[in-house]
Amino acid sequence: MVKVNGEEIDIAGKTLSEYLSSANFDMQRIAVERNGDIVPRAQYDKTTLADGDSVEVVSFVGGG
């Protein structure tokens, strides 16, 4: 299981890109941390989620 924003999800083995697409995140509006470290945008395709990972997806909305 992978913890995403506090919720346990059965996505171990998927790439980060696969998960983010399936969960309908807008790739241009997010920052992603995995186990406390930022995942560079260019690495989403190459990052495979492992059992026990903790992922934080920060979705930005506009306004300032």
Partner: protein, 211 residues
């Protein structure tokens, strides 16, 4: 007549105490975007005596900004950097305010922000916010980043919060109410979010790293 620099320093030391005064006055903080968030963050930090503010925006003051941003009707048409510089110098005449009239991009982020201890993301569009956050977190992991997301509308003031995402990355706002939903920005709620960001800056400078 404006007080002397010594009088201003003495007044700040009396308010904050010597230790906090020193921590604030030695600090360098960047504010990226000088709209409703950034102009209010800058005013709070200038008043608190933060030593150096790096102020970045490419845009000019528009009449539609006056309802929530720290500009005056007489400043419509000026670059926000120039107008805010003017206003901050009236508040804190001996402050060190550096301005960059430029659009912040992935290419110039590092050169504009390299001298900052703490970076406030105060941009408008969700894409620009995310790009700046990613660039800072990827290329300047030693910096503190305080970003903001979700402050539109007349929703409860009490839903605006600061949370620590991880290490040196903080996020202010309610996380959900964006301008994409067609709801406008209201000065009081944007100021609340700006106050959260400015307050987190001062807490970090004081050594308090939890929101």
């Amino acid at each position: 007549m404006a007080p002397t620099e010594e009088e201003m320093i003495r007044a700040l030391e009396e308010r904050h105490g010597h230790d906090l005064y020193c921590r604030f006055s030695r600090a360098s903080v960047a504010v990226c975007g000088l709209g409703g968030l950034g102009s209010n963050i800058a005013v709070s930090l200038a008043r608190a005596g933060v030593g150096r503010l790096i102020l970045i925006d490419f845009d000019r003051v528009d009449i539609t900004n006056l309802h929530r941003q720290q500009y005056k009707a007489s400043q419509v048409g000026m670059y926000k950097t120039d107008a805010l510089y003017e206003n901050l110098m009236e508040i804190s005449p001996y402050g060190n305010f550096q301005t960059h009239t430029a659009r912040i991009t992935e290419d110039n982020t590092k050169s504009m922000l390299q001298d900052a201890d703490i970076i406030c993301e105060a941009l408008d569009s969700a894409e620009c916010k995310a790009t700046l956050a990613n660039t800072v977190l990827e290329t300047m992991p030693e910096k503190y980043l305080i970003a903001s997301s979700g402050m539109a509308g007349l929703y409860s003031a009490n839903s605006i919060k600061t949370r620590k995402v991880s290490g040196r990355f903080y996020l202010c706002g309610d996380g959900t109410s964006g301008i994409e939903d067609g709801i406008g920005l209201v000065s009081s709620r944007v100021m609340l979010c700006a106050a959260h960001a400015a307050h987190m800056v001062l807490r970090i400078l004081a050594g308090e790293l939890e929101p």
